[in-house]
């Protein structure tokens, strides 16, 4: 597993850098994976360029999810996407950092598969995706309170782990 990238990925990164230059805050290669960090304002622009540019041609959104880094108080949340190009056969990771209460535009217009992903990210971390057609809770119950995957949410939950008998007849 060397850190050398495939030629198509090198070309793609060159094109990306040419287009965005300094707006790509960071670009790292670790264990063969390329990671690009962008600012939240550039999220939509960078991702639509990734989909439409022929050298990049990232036609599949492999996953989109959130992450919480409380040790970084000015921008504790992260949204990570993995993009796949079937045409060229390369992958890339695009990340952005958000402050508490931050939001991002939705990418469901580019890749419909992001629908569930963004819903889950919202319900687990509290990151709002503007323009999402149906931003409600996906995996947890409708009346769940809190954002479970945040680091400050306790593992055993907030209601003491008992069965919700108070909901009988209501749900």
């Amino acid at each position: 597993m060397s850190d050398s990238l495939s030629p198509s990925l090198e070309k793609a990164l060159a094109r990306l850098n040419k287009r965005f230059g300094a707006r790509l805050l960071e670009q790292t290669v670790l264990y063969g994976d390329v990671t690009c960090v962008v600012a939240p304002e550039d999220w939509m622009r960078v991702l639509s360029f990734c989909k439409s540019a022929p050298q990049l041609a990232f036609d599949q959104l492999d996953s989109l999810f959130g992450d919480h880094l409380p040790e970084r108080p000015e921008a504790p949340f992260e949204v990570v996407t993995h993009l796949v190009s079937h045409k060229h056969g390369h992958r890339m990771r695009v990340k952005t950092s958000l402050a508490e209460g931050g939001s991002l535009p939705t990418v469901t217009g580019l890749w419909p598969s992001a629908g569930f992903d963004e819903r889950e990210t919202w319900e687990m971390f509290g990151i709002v995706f503007e323009g999402h057609p149906d931003l409600r809770r996906l995996l947890t119950t409708e009346d769940f309170e809190g954002f479970p995957l945040r680091k400050d949410f306790p593992l055993q939950g907030t209601i003491g782990g008992r069965i919700r008998t108070d909901l009988r007849g209501k749900v």
């Binding site: 599949q60 999810f65 890749w111 569930f116 995996l139 119950t141």
Partner: protein, 431 residues
């Protein structure tokens, strides 16, 4: 140009016209076929709202689809998942890497080892552990057995959804042979927990080689029989041909991977494209079909089962000697048999079990081809023994999401067939 109605006899399997003589339909043609097969939607009457699930004999687990029907035609479908959500990702943050492996078993519980394998590949990428050759071959063997088990179960349940229970029972009887092999190899029929960071848990037991060969000599004949039954059944062809067409563009847009993508003409198989384990060293073909309908997904999976038998046989024939678990003191467990005799092994195990592996800071994403599609595992580590974030990108999550795109405009009876053909398991879907 051969039309779809002719090609059900001219199949890409034994006894049929060879594949290269059939002109493959282009995506435009597939879309035209899909539109032609659909009933015109006349939204005149009131729509009936039907909730299919979560308790439903055919909904493959607790999946719920809120349908709006106009007569027999589905006008809109809204999937509701989450009934099996167990918070695996949150649990992973509180466990060491070794302790996460049994959690991954329960993701796609039908092919547990495949999930273990995915997680182990990602963790090994992060830690820089190299799996020894024997370990890689055993992993490949167990993974292909998982693929067999998964596809046989899928075959039985899909045909049962179409209306016969006899086939289901027969398929399960054959799956018993594979499950017995798993029991011999890993100790468990369903939740194997067989993968370890650096290799596998145990070596192949005595007699496994002989028994495995018996099974993979017997299964292809059985599979040929099933394929013959399916392909010659007029009713099945009427219910599966040109139903649920999902072109490659749809698959990319909805992140639908695996056999469904291969049935749409895309020869993408991560075992060949981004190889791992012993796949670079075994020879096998990627099963591809071009009509992107339910029938082709059946064909793809039947062929994949045959290829799995081939791979297993090659693994058994070429199994190298050596350790099955990387002798890497910082990252993997020591062999059980040494632990009580050798102080170095005892210390290694003590350290690994109580403290966990030494993991550098970083993040990694690794995708492998599990029986249902492509599973990706993302691990972010802050340097401790427990990961800071683990994300499982499981195929059924996206297949469940793609259901509206697949079934809107189709009839209710077709929905069952289409949903069965994309293979959703709720453990995989809800994590």
């Amino acid at each position: 140009m051969a039309t779809a109605h002719d090609t059900h006899d001219a199949a890409s399997g034994p006894g049929g016209v060879p594949v290269h003589m059939i002109a493959h339909p282009t995506p435009e043609e597939l879309r035209a076929r899909k539109a032609a097969g659909r009933i015109r939607l006349e939204r005149n009457a009131e729509l009936m709202s039907l909730s299919m699930g979560p308790q439903h004999p055919s909904m493959h687990g607790v999946y719920r689809a809120e349908l709006e029907l106009d007569g027999e035609v589905i006008v809109s479908a809204r999937p509701e998942i989450g009934n099996l959500h167990r918070g695996v990702e949150k649990l992973c943050e509180h466990r060491t890497y070794h302790q996460i492996i049994p959690l991954t078993d329960r993701l796609d519980y039908i092919s547990s080892f495949a999930m273990n394998h995915g997680f182990c590949e990602a963790a090994e990428k992060l830690m820089g552990v190299e799996v020894p050759a024997r370990g890689r071959y055993i992993r490949t063997l167990a993974h292909e057995l998982c693929r067999l088990s998964n596809h046989i179960l899928w075959l039985g349940t899909s045909i049962m959804d179409l209306g016969t229970q006899t086939f289901f029972t027969i398929c399960f009887r054959d799956r018993e042979y594979v499950l017995d092999l798993f029991e011999m190899l890993t100790g468990a029929r369903l939740t194997h927990s067989f993968g370890r960071i650096g290799g596998v848990a145990k070596d192949l037991p005595d007699g496994f080689d002989h028994r495995c060969r018996k099974v993979i000599d017997f299964l292809p004949k059985r599979l040929a029989e099933y394929e013959r039954i399916i392909k010659q059944n007029r009713i099945f062809i009427k219910r599966a041909k040109n139903i649920g067409i999902f072109t490659s563009d749809d698959c990319y847009a909805w992140r639908v991977t695996g056999p469904t993508l291969r049935a749409a003409g895309v020869a993408r198989d991560l075992r060949k494209d981004e190889p791992y384990a012993a796949y670079p060293e075994v020879e096998f073909d990627v099963a591809v079909e071009y009509n992107a309908d339910v029938y082709d997904r059946f064909l793809v999976r039947m062929r994949e089962m045959r290829e799995s038998c081939k791979i297993i046989r090659q693994c058994l024939d070429n199994l190298p000697d050596g350790p099955f678990l990387a002798p890497d003191a910082g990252h993997s467990l020591a062999l059980k048999k040494n632990v009580l005799h050798d102080s170095a092994a005892m210390i290694q195990n003590f350290y690994q079990v109580f403290q966990g592996p030494q993991v550098p800071k970083g993040e990694v994403y690794r995708c492998i081809e599990v029986p249902k599609g492509e599973m990706g595992v993302y691990i972010r580590s802050e340097g401790g023994a427990k990961p800071a974030r683990v994300r499982f990108t499981t195929p059924s999550f996206y297949h469940g999401q793609a259901v509206p795109a697949l079934v809107e405009g189709e009839m209710v009876a077709d929905m069952i067939a289409i949903f069965a053909s994309v293979d959703v398991v709720l453990g995989d879907c809800d994590k």
